[in-house]
């Protein structure tokens, strides 16, 4: 199950696509749920799912970063500039993910309440670290989410460019080892 240097391994591929589905799903859910009316059936459920999936994705992402740092990586293609930009974009995506998990956590735990994950376990809260924490963290969470979705779109377009224009293996090797 180890990643080979020629391509990505199944672990990386699975985590990548799970994360992709989760990120797009969380964005859509989050965007939709903030405008729910009080009497909507989803008023309590949607945020519960959003938070639960978000925390689980945070755990998966931490594992992913560890996995990424300890395995050999397939060689990047493209010009040196492209490779640098790609490195930068990926770093920013990971950074945005971490900041999104953190800001989301800080909204819900601003009063010391924990976050219940699918009625499975409760992640404890640390309470208020800064004044108006829930408002500031909320604004940060919203804007970072837009930036992340923008970058994810760019990331997808770049993959398609590799596949259809450069006709290289960049997309293929994220689909099968």
């Amino acid at each position: 199950m180890n990643d080979k240097a020629r391509s990505w391994g199944w672990t990386t591929i699975t985590i990548h696509w799970l994360s992709a589905i989760a990120v797009v799903g969380l964005f859509g859910l989050g965007w939709w749920m903030v405008d729910l009316t009080y009497y909507s059936d989803w008023y309590k459920t949607a945020p519960h799912i959003h938070k639960s999936v978000g925390i689980l994705l945070a755990a998966l992402t931490l594992f992913r970063l560890f996995w990424r740092a300890t395995r050999p990586r397939p060689e990047a293609s493209g010009s040196q500039l492209e490779q640098r930009l790609s490195m930068l974009a990926h770093t920013v995506i990971y950074l945005l993910l971490i900041l999104l998990f953190t800001s989301g956590y800080l909204i819900s735990t601003a009063d010391g309440r924990g976050i219940e994950i699918f009625n499975w376990f409760t992640l404890p809260g640390f309470g208020s670290l800064i004044e108006n924490q829930e408002d500031i963290a909320g604004t940060v969470h919203e804007w970072l989410a837009y930036v992340l979705i923008g970058l994810a779109l760019l990331h997808a377009l770049a993959a398609l460019k590799h596949h259809f224009i450069d006709k290289d293996k960049t997309l293929i090797r994220m689909l099968k080892p």
């Binding site: 009316t37 009080y38 009497y39 945020p47 909204i107 819900s108 735990t109 601003a110 009063d111 309440r113 208020s128 108006n132 924490q133 829930e134 408002d135 909320g138």
Partner: protein, 190 residues
């Protein structure tokens, strides 16, 4: 002798010509509170408060009609003991505090003064950018010297406002269209 002079001072104070004294609301010592409650689904009361406010008033027990008060409230200081709810109450659905960052009550007149010192306080309440007249049922709680050389007077007040009167139209259900404001004010004489 000491006892006599003390009672003389008391007598002098009591018979002094009456004039409205100025008081500062003791928000610093938190002997004042702006609390609210609203029905939750019609099944219970949800309570909360505004933590940050200040104000002053003038009051004379012998002439309550001449009383007046101004209270400035920071709507962003709303606290219902639940950060996620407070965040919602501060946003565009409710108080929209980034746009309407000041709430205030300025009295206009006093009516219906009763024997026990209770009265109706009329005034203009500004909230969510809307100013509307309200009448607060005021109960006088007491007044006198405090143990630290000051003089205090305190009241409790209650009034009810309709959310939609103040341009807040988020639907919380038919039982939750009005908010009860419960005010507790203690002033320290200047």
């Amino acid at each position: 002798m000491k006892k006599l002079s003390l009672s003389l001072i008391t007598l002098a104070a009591m018979s002094a010509p009456t004039f409205a004294a100025d008081y500062i609301i003791d928000s610093k010592g938190a002997h004042a509170a702006i609390n609210f409650k609203i029905q939750h689904l019609g099944y219970s009361w949800l309570t909360g408060r505004f933590n940050t406010f200040d104000g002053n008033f003038s009051y004379d027990a012998d002439n309550p009609q001449a009383s007046s008060i101004t209270v400035n409230i920071d709507p962003a200081s709303i606290d219902s003991n639940h950060a996620e709810r407070d965040k919602h109450l501060r946003n565009e659905d409710f108080l929209h505090v980034t746009k309407f960052d000041k709430a205030r009550f300025v009295s206009t007149k006093v009516t219906d003064v009763e024997e026990d010192g209770d009265f109706h306080l009329h005034g203009d309440l500004t909230l969510h950018g809307v100013t509307k007249p309200v009448v607060i049922d005021v109960e006088k709680i007491g007044e006198g010297e405090d143990p630290w050389g000051g003089y205090r007077v305190g009241f409790a007040g209650e009034t009810k406002i309709a959310l939609k009167d103040y341009g807040i139209d988020y639907d919380l259900g038919p039982a939750s269209t009005h908010v009860l404001l419960e005010l507790h004010i203690e002033g320290v004489r200047q």
